[in-house]
């Protein structure tokens, strides 16, 4: 082909379809490592573990920090440490492999290319994640990059870091509840009923909002929006249509089932404490 005969400036194959998904644990881990970094270090770097999903998304699930030292023009990475840690992690979860590396700070810096090269030897096409722990431009920027090589013929000219879309949705953390992860101190975990109460309050607030909106539209204070209307009607129609007696029966049946269970468990508990008392009484006699 022509390309092989002439020296042509070649861009590496760009992987525009690549996306990355990050679990909140990784961010927590990076922040923790950053807080615990050695005195003289300006940033922390480390390995990202995870897997590649069938649709090509890189799923970043775990991470660990790797000690390094950095001067103006060179970077030394503790490779032995990196390998030890990898072996330890794989003992627990063999499915998690290296997918890339992370560094704190904003954007890609000069030393990054060297480290990236090291990780490219560990895994093809690693992801480089940067987490701006310094909040340099006023927000905590989290970005992911892949590198593509810019080569002239056979000669490597430079590495180009290309940003890839990053999915920061945190389903896992949502299950725990942001309330406990967002603030610096929570005194008490919610129990069953308190959590229920909070959820119901939120639901009530949402319903109130919808009511207000509909009332405002009906009275002409707010311009109607068809898409919102469609969402509302969809929500309302998602309630199953049941005749009132059938619904009553359903609710009452479930109530009775639950009451029965409650009764059973209470009676068991009473029985247990009674047995305890009788036992000690019998032994005293």
């Amino acid at each position: 082909m022509a390309a092989s005969e002439h020296t042509v400036l070649q861009f590496g194959t760009s992987s525009s379809t690549l996306t990355a998904k990050i679990h909140p644990l990784v961010i927590f881990n990076i922040c923790d490592c950053y807080v615990r970094r050695p005195d003289q270090a300006e940033r922390v770097i480390g390995t990202l573990l995870g897997s590649i999903l069938p649709d090509g998304t890189v799923d970043i699930r775990n991470s660990y920090a790797v000690p390094h030292s950095e001067s103006a023009d060179q970077v030394a990475l503790d490779i032995e440490y990196h390998h030890n840690m990898l072996v330890s992690h794989q003992k627990v979860n063999p499915k998690e492999v290296i997918v890339g590396w992370y560094s704190t700070g904003l954007g890609v810096t000069g030393g990054s290319a060297l480290i990236h090269e090291f990780y490219s030897r560990e895994v093809p096409n690693p992801i480089h994640l940067t987490v701006d722990t310094g909040f340099n431009n006023g927000e905590g920027t989290i970005k992911a990059y892949v590198s593509s090589n810019l080569s002239l013929g056979d000669r490597q000219l430079a590495a180009q870091f290309q940003e890839v879309p990053l999915d920061l949705r945190m389903v896992e953390a949502e299950r725990v509840g942001f309330d406990i992860l967002k603030t610096t101190m929570v005194d008490k975990l919610q129990n069953d009923l308190e959590g229920m109460e909070a959820s119901m309050e939120r639901l009530l607030a949402l319903i109130d909002d919808v009511y207000k909106y509909v009332d405002n539209v009906v009275e002409g204070h707010v311009a109607p929006d068809n898409s919102i209307g469609r969402f509302i009607s969809e929500t309302v129609s998602s309630l199953p249509k049941l005749s009132p007696p059938a619904f009553d029966k359903l609710v009452n049946d479930s109530l009775q089932d639950n009451l029965l269970l409650l009764y059973l468990s209470s009676i068991t508990r009473t029985q247990l404490s009674l047995a305890e008392k009788l036992n000690t009484a019998a032994q005293i006699l």
């Binding site: 699930r61 905590g140 509840g177 069953d192 119901m200």
Partner: protein, 343 residues
């Protein structure tokens, strides 16, 4: 005068005593967990669910607060003899590595996942005793992945009560001893309140990344109407426990029956011997001793340990609490649904 003098000396002594006891140990009041640890535990337990997994907790012991600042998972153990050494070396490696990145490498306990709260076993107590030998203060964090699907953060911090540990060390679970110590099944485990803390950096990131959303996944999970499978499993476990408990009770009945039989045998033997002795006395002979250790009816019947029945009882109480909790939630849900439907 003399009176006041004695009172001051007692005062002084009591102050001294107080000071001494306070120096020995201030009781553990709160376990303070970092969000990072919670996420790590959840990740590990969830990925391997329904298999049960364990891991080590690292942190600091500060006065009456135990801070958990990091943790690492243990690989799933295979039933191998040689694995024991490998597990220990893994643990050492991991701690060494973590120390290098300035993580607190001070073991303060362990975490484990559980299925519907069925964690109260003899193994747990044994592990506890093992840990307690090396660390003065340790806790066990129990996480239940199955309950977390219902929007509850099912995290518990447990420790064994001191009086129970003392009793366990002497390995003496007879009814008499338990009564002496006034220990009932409620007193085996102590639950310690949990606090969650996050570094300011993490809190900033979380606020940045997630704007206040009106609904979260947690709310969806909580408002989910179908909790029947959970309740059914709970009931099944409860029934199993009841069977176990009745087995234990049969053991005790058997013990008491054999005990009373032995006592009546002993009485009969004693009366016979006394009559014999009276006859011998009348005949002017030496009386025979009133005890005969060689006789099998004087051998004490071993009393079965009450530990198992205590644990089972604890387990049952736990299931009952869970059922109560979920049923309570169900009531609210059903009423909510009714109200929604009427609207």
């Amino acid at each position: 005068m003399a009176n006041t003098n004695t009172s001051t000396t007692t005062m002084a002594r009591s102050f001294l005593q107080v000071a001494a006891t306070e120096e020995v140990a201030s009781p553990l009041r709160v376990v303070q967990i970092e969000g990072l640890v919670i996420l790590k535990i959840i990740k590990h337990c969830k990925e391997f669910s329904p298999a049960l997994v364990t891991g080590q907790l690292l942190g600091l012991d500060v006065g009456s607060v135990l801070e958990l600042t990091n943790c690492f998972p243990f690989p799933i153990r295979e039933e191998d003899e040689e694995n024991e050494g490998e597990g220990a070396s893994y643990q050492l490696d991991m701690m060494k590595c973590l120390r290098e990145v300035n993580v607190d490498n001070n073991t303060v306990g362990w975490y484990q996942s559980t299925l519907l709260g069925s964690f109260q076993t003899v193994e747990l107590i044994e592990t506890f005793m093992n840990y307690q030998e090396n660390i003065r203060r340790c806790v066990c964090i129990i996480y239940d992945p199955s309950r977390s699907n219902q929007g509850v953060l099912a995290l518990k911090a447990l420790k064994l009560s001191d009086s129970f540990m003392e009793l366990y060390r002497s390995n003496n679970f007879t009814g008499e001893k338990l009564r002496e110590k006034n220990l009932s099944w409620v007193d085996i485990f102590e639950e310690i309140p949990i606090k969650v803390s996050n570094s300011a950096l993490i809190s900033a990131f979380m606020t940045e990344l997630e704007a206040d959303t009106p609904v979260t996944q947690c709310d969806y999970d909580r408002l989910q109407l179908s909790s029947n499978p959970f309740l059914e499993r709970n009931m099944e476990f409860l029934i199993e426990c009841m069977d176990d408990l009745s087995m234990e009770q049969q053991k005790f009945q058997f013990y008491y029956r054999s005990l009373s039989r032995q006592q009546s045998q002993q009485q009969a033997w004693l009366q016979k011997r006394r009559a014999e002795n009276a006859a011998r006395k009348a005949a002017g002979e030496e009386p025979l001793p009133e005890e005969d250790p060689a006789n099998p009816i004087f051998k004490p019947v071993p009393e079965p340990s009450r530990l198992d029945s205590f644990l089972i009882t604890n387990q049952m109480a736990n299931y009952c609490n869970q059922i109560n909790g979920v049923a309570g939630q169900n009531f609210s849900r059903l009423h909510l649904m009714k109200a929604l439907h009427e609207n």
